[in-house]
C-alpha cells in the first residue's frame, strides 16, 4: 500500500500551482517503512561485519550526538550519530547522502558511549561498501586521493621519486656515527610533500642532528602509511601500501620506528605488525625523551601565549596527552594556556578519516571552530603535533583576516625556535 515515490509523474501537467516559482504536483510520502526490504537491508548489514552486532544494543541516549564535532557546525542538515545508528538498525540506511563522509574518525563518540559501540569502525566498513562496491555517494576529490594513494603512493599524484625532495640534496649518511644505535624515521606523505608540513620534516631533521641521534629514512622507497585510504574504506589499497612499507622495514632491519604523523603511528602500531618485534612510536615521544634527558637544551626564550591542539590520534586513540604539555611548559618565556576543549575532550580539526581531502566551504570547517577557541583565550601560537592538523589549521588561518594574528606551528619547529 505504500509506494513512497510517485512513479511516472508527468511533469508536463501544470495546473498553475506554484511554490516559490517551482511547479507543485504530488508530494513524496515521508514516512519510513518497516517491511521486507528494510528487514533484508538490516540482515545484510549485520552479516557484513561484526561491528554492526554492537549497534543493536544502542539505547539511543544521544551522548554521541552531543559530543560529535559535526553538530557544532551550523549546517542545514546536522549529522547525528544517534539518528545514523537508528536508521542503520532499522534498515533505513541511505548511502547516497553526504552523512557518511562527515565523520572525521575523531573517536569522541566511541569514548563517551556507555555501551562502547565502535561507531568509527562501523563508518569505515560502510565506506568500504561505497568505495569497493559503489554502493553510494563518494566525493570526487576523495575518490582521486584514494586512487592516487593506491597508484602514486601519495594522495596528490606527486612523483614518488620526489619524496626526498624536501631534503634539498642534504645527505643523511654523511652525518652519522656507526657505533651508535640507529632509529628509522618514517616521514609520511604530508611532511614529504605538503608545503606547510615540510617545515616539520626539516625541523625534526635539525633536532635529531642537534641531539646527535643516528637515524635513517626510507627515502624514495617510502610510501604512504595508508591510514587515510583505510579510513576512507579502501581496504585493498591499504593492504598494498602496508605490504610495501613492511617489506621496506624488514629490508632496513631497524626495529625502532618513529613517525612524524600520529596517523602513521596509529595505523602502523595497530594494523601493521602482529608481533611486537617492531616498535613504532610517534616522534613526539622521542622529542619528549630528549628534552627531559637534557639532550636538547633550550637557549632562547619565547615570550608568547601558546596553546596546544591535541591531535585526535594522540589524545583519544592513544592517550598521549601529558608529554607535549610537559615539553611546551618547559620552554622558557612561553606562557601555556589550555583551550576550551583540550586533552581527551579535544576538538577535531576535521582532517581525519580522509576529511582533509574534502573541500569544505568556509563556515563549515571544524578547523575554524578550533581557531575561534584559540582566539577566545588570546593565544599567539597554536602548537600541534600532527601534519594533518597543521595543514588544516594553517589553511583556515591563511586567507582569513579573523585569524591573521594567530600562528600555527608544529611542536618540532616551535621547539627548534627555542634552541
Amino acid at each position: 500500500m505504500s509506494e513512497k515515490n510517485l512513479k511516472n509523474t508527468k511533469e508536463t501537467v501544470d495546473y498553475g500551482w506554484r511554490f516559490q516559482g517551482k511547479p507543485i504536483l504530488c508530494h513524496e510520502d515521508r514516512s519510513t517503512l518497516v517491511d521486507e526490504s528494510t528487514y533484508q537491508m538490516h540482515m545484510a548489514l549485520s552479516q557484513m561485519s561484526r561491528e554492526f552486532y554492537y549497534l543493536e544494543r544502542c539505547m539511543q541516549c544521544g551522548m554521541c550526538t552531543e559530543t560529535c564535532p559535526n553538530t557544532k557546525l551550523d549546517r542545514q542538515d546536522k549529522f547525528s550519530p544517534r539518528e545514523f545508528i537508528q536508521k542503520l538498525r532499522l534498515g533505513l540506511l541511505d548511502l547516497s547522502g553526504e552523512d557518511l563522509w562527515l565523520c572525521t574518525n575523531c573517536g569522541n563518540c566511541e569514548m563517551i558511549c556507555p555501551f562502547e559501540i565502535p561507531f568509527v569502525e562501523v563508518m569505515i566498513s560502510l565506506r568500504n561498501l561505497v568505495v569497493e562496491q559503489g554502493a553510494g555517494y563518494l566525493p570526487a576529490t576523495l575518490k582521486n586521493s584514494i586512487s592516487s594513494m593506491a597508484t602514486y603512493h601519495n594522495p596528490w599524484m606527486e612523483n614518488p621519486d620526489n619524496r626526498n625532495a624536501w631534503l634539498g640534496g642534504f645527505d643523511l649518511s654523511e652525518h652519522e656515527d656507526e657505533d651508535l644505535p640507529k632509529i628509522l624515521l618514517f616521514m609520511g606523505c604530508f611532511p614529504s610533500y605538503d608545503n606547510d608540513a615540510k617545515r616539520i620534516a626539516k625541523s625534526a631533521l635539525q633536532l635529531l642532528h642537534n641531539s646527535s641521534i643516528n637515524f635513517e629514512t626510507l627515502g624514495n622507497k617510502e610510501v604512504c602509511c595508508g591510514d587515510s585510504s583505510f579510513r576512507s574504506g579502501d581496504y585493498e589499497g591499504f593492504e598494498k601500501l602496508k605490504r610495501i612499507n613492511t617489506d621496506n622495514f624488514i629490508e632496513k632491519g631497524i626495529k625502532d620506528i618513529y613517525t612524524l604523523s600520529p596517523h602513521c603511528f596509529d595505523v602502523m602500531s595497530k594494523r601493521y605488525f602482529e608481533d611486537d618485534e617492531y616498535c613504532v612510536k610517534p616522534f613526539l615521544l622521542l622529542l619528549h625523551e630528549l628534552i627531559i634527558n637534557n639532550k636538547l637544551i633550550f637557549t632562547k626564550s619565547i615570550n608568547k601565549r601558546i596553546t596546544f591542539h591535541d591531535p585526535c590520534f594522540l589524545c583519544k586513540h592513544n592517550q598521549i596527552i601529558e608529554e607535549p604539555r610537559r615539553i611546551l611548559k618547559s620552554i622558557p618565556g612561553a606562557e601555556f594556556i589550555e583551550m576550551e576543549h583540550s586533552g581527551q575532550k579535544s576538538m577535531c580539526c576535521g582532517g581525519g578519516g580522509g576529511g582533509i581531502f574534502l573541500d569544505r566551504k568556509k563556515g563549515e570547517r571544524l578547523s575554524e571552530i578550533r581557531l575561534e577557541e584559540a582566539i577566545e583565550i588570546k593565544a599567539d601560537v597554536v602548537v600541534t603535533a600532527c601534519p594533518l592538523c597543521l595543514s588544516m589549521l594553517a589553511d583556515s588561518a591563511k586567507n582569513d583576516d579573523r585569524y591573521k594574528n594567530i600562528e600555527v606551528k608544529d611542536i618540532c619547529e616551535f621547539v627548534l625556535e627555542a634552541i
Binding site: 506554484r18 516559490q20 515521508r30 514516512s31
Partner: protein, 350 residues
Amino acid sequence: MKKTESKSQVCPPSDKPTENDSNESINLIEDVKNLPPWFQRDFNLSKKDQELLRGYLDNLDDEEIINLYYQLREAKEIRNDRYFYPNMQILFGTPFEREKDRREQRIWAEKYEAENEVIQWYKDAREKSCVWWVENHIIARHCLNSCMSCGACSALCPAAEFFDYNPRIIMETVQEKDEQLLVDLLKSDTIWYCYQCGSCKAKCPRKNNPFGMITSLRQLSQIKGYHVHSIRGRQQYAARHFWGGNLWNRACTLYFRNVESETHKDFGPRFEAYDKARDDFFTRVGACPDSEGVLSGRKVHPETLDEVRKLWQMGGALYMWELIEEAAKNQAQEWGMTIDEYHDKVSREG
C-alpha cells in the same frame, strides 16, 4: 411549513418591483456589461490594467467606492419569478471589491469601536508575551495538559506524511514555555502546514488537542504580526480577502462562483462543462444562484448581512483582518510592490 414548493415564499420579496425601479436596475446591469476590460477578476488582469484600476480606485473616496459597489451589486432583474442579482458574479474577488472592503471595514470598525471586551482582550494580548497567550487564550488553555511525547499524533497526521512537520514537536515546544522558542515557532512555516483535521485530538492518550493549540498559535502569530515572516504564513492575506471577502459581502465562506474551471484545471473536463452552464444547472436542481430563496447560492438579505457583520465586528474578526491588512501593507512596502501585486504573489506564488 411542509411543502418544498412553498419555500420561495419563505422570504417574500420585500416589494414588487415598480417600473422605474426595474428600469434603473437594467441600466446598471448594462453599465456593468460596459465596464472597462480591467474591471475584472485578478487572474486575467495585466500589469497595465492593474495600474489603471489602481489609479481609478485611488481617486474615489470611501463614500463613492462603497456606493458604487452596492449600486452595482443590488441591481436586480426578474428571472423565473424570482429576483436575480446578475452583478454579483462580476464583483466578487476583484481588486475593486477588496479595496471597497478595506475602506468599508475600517469605517465599521471605527463606527462600532464602542467598549468591546473581546477586541480589548486581543489588543492587550498583543502587548503580552506568547507564553502568557498559551496559558490564557480561551482555546489554548484547554489544549495541553501534559505531553509525554509518544508520537500518536504525528503517526496519523496527514501533514506530517508530506511536509517537514510534526505536531508532537510543536506540543513539546509549547510545553517548554520558552518565549524565544515560541516566537521562532510562530515566525516559521511549521504551524501553517496543519490540515486542521483533528486526527491528533482523537488519538492523544493524554487528552491533549494539538490541532486546537495550532489554531490558537496561528491566531497569535497573526495578532503579533509574525506570520509575515514565513512564506506560508503570508498566505493568510489571501485567505483574509478570499474567505473574509465572501463573508463580508455574501455571508458565506465559499461563494458558489469562486471555483472556476479557469483556476481549477485539475477538476477535469466535466467540471469545465458544468462551469459553463452553472446557472442553468443550479436552477434546474432547485438551487437559487444569486437569487431570492433559501437554497444553495441564494442571495443573502441585506438585513441578515448587517446582523452578522455586527457580530464579526463584535467578535474581533474585523480587528484581526485589520491587523492582517496592516502587516501585509508593510510587507508589500518593504518589497516595493502594490498591495494588489502582493495579494497575487502570496495567493499564487507562495
